[in-house]
């Protein structure tokens, strides 16, 4: 293994584990039914939703090569499939990948 890549992996792992570890340390004094727990619950859901929205609207990686329009159409159509399939998670997920590949090929 090249040293640079190994160091980058170790640094990435450390930066990732730090937030998780601090989370466990903080969790020890928090009761399941406390207001503080409910607040953190809201923070977690809002943070995840922000991450998902940012990934779709301002993507990183290969998604950069697709258009806003194609991503928006795929997400809206997938949500439509999600609701008509009685909130099944798999159908819209598979649909999104196929739909995105097809749209990206033609747009």
């Amino acid at each position: 293994m090249s040293a640079n890549i190994v160091y980058a992996i170790l640094v990435t792992s450390l930066a990732t584990f730090l937030s998780r570890f601090l989370g466990v340390v903080s969790s020890q004094g928090i009761k399941e039914k406390s207001k503080l727990f409910r607040w953190f619950n809201c923070l977690a859901y809002a943070t995840l939703a922000a991450l998902i929205a940012r990934t779709i609207i301002f993507p990183a990686g290969v998604l950069v090569d697709s258009t806003y329009f194609s991503r928006l159409i795929v997400v809206l159509l997938s949500l439509f499939v999600f609701f008509i399939s009685k909130k099944n998670y798999i159908y819209p997920t598979i649909f999104s990948a196929i739909c995105m590949a097809i749209i990206n090929n033609y747009i």
């Binding site: 730090l18 607040w39 809201c42």
Partner: protein, 234 residues
């Protein structure tokens, strides 16, 4: 030690009809292919998935390496993007803490905190006795990491056969899956509002502060949702 019955019950949770296994595998297929393009070998790719086990962090590392960033810059960039794991941990671990369980299980298993495992645990924890939730959680985490490693291996091995459109198709799959799970989990006013505000504020704040956008959107959106929810209950 770990209760085998609950561990395997957690491990099998990814085999259900609404499991994240397919989405997770496809995302790590994309990551495996990306690692190969970056010059990683198979050991480094799997090592990275096992040790980091967080997609956005891996993507940031890959992009930082592409532009030749220093190790310190990689650390800061990954820490910022993965700071979301802190509220996720604090909103999950109090549900699993039990005085009869040794603390090492909590410090060890916090490594499994990631969106898929977190969402599975959140939707199933009420069916598990509190004493054994940590064993169930370790089962979920081991299963999701196994699937991620498998995906990385497949992506690395078959990257030459994927064209650009297929890679883009694989990349959209993860946010769509998570979005559906979040919409499905929105059953109370606090969670529904948290999700809605996060979706709106995340991209808006990104225009002004890309590094802090996720955290700020989470704190502002989550706090407003919490206050509105508490007010409506009272």
């Amino acid at each position: 030690m770990i209760n085998k019955k609950f561990f395997f019950r957690g491990y099998r949770s990814i085999l259900t009809h609404d499991s994240p296994a397919i989405a997770l595998t496809c995302c790590f297929i994309a990551i495996g292919a990306l690692f190969k393009n970056l010059g990683f070998n198979i050991q480094e790719s799997i090592f990275s998935t096992m040790l980091t086990y967080a997609l956005p962090g891996s993507l940031v590392m890959a992009e930082s390496m592409l532009i030749g960033a220093s190790l310190f810059n990689i650390f800061l960039a990954v820490w910022f993007v993965n700071a979301r794991l802190y509220p996720m941990t604090v909103s999950l671990f109090p549900l699993m803490m039990h005085k009869s369980q040794p603390k090492w299980k909590y410090y060890f298993s916090c490594h499994f905190i990631a969106v898929s495992a977190w969402l599975i645990m959140r939707s199933n924890y009420k069916q598990i006795p509190k004493k054994h939730r940590i064993d169930y959680w370790i089962g979920i985490g081991s299963a999701t990491v196994s699937v991620s490693v498998l995906g990385t291996y497949i992506g690395f091995s078959f990257s030459d056969y994927f064209n650009k459109d297929m890679m883009i198709g694989l990349a959209i799959l993860n946010p769509v899956y998570f979005l559906c799970m979040m919409v499905g989990a929105s059953k109370t006013i606090q969670i529904t509002l948290s999700v809605a505000l996060g979706i709106i504020l995340g991209p808006v704040i990104y225009l002004f502060s890309p590094e802090w956008s996720i955290l700020l959107a989470g704190v502002i959106g989550g706090t407003i949702a919490y206050l509105v929810g508490e007010h409506s209950v009272s």
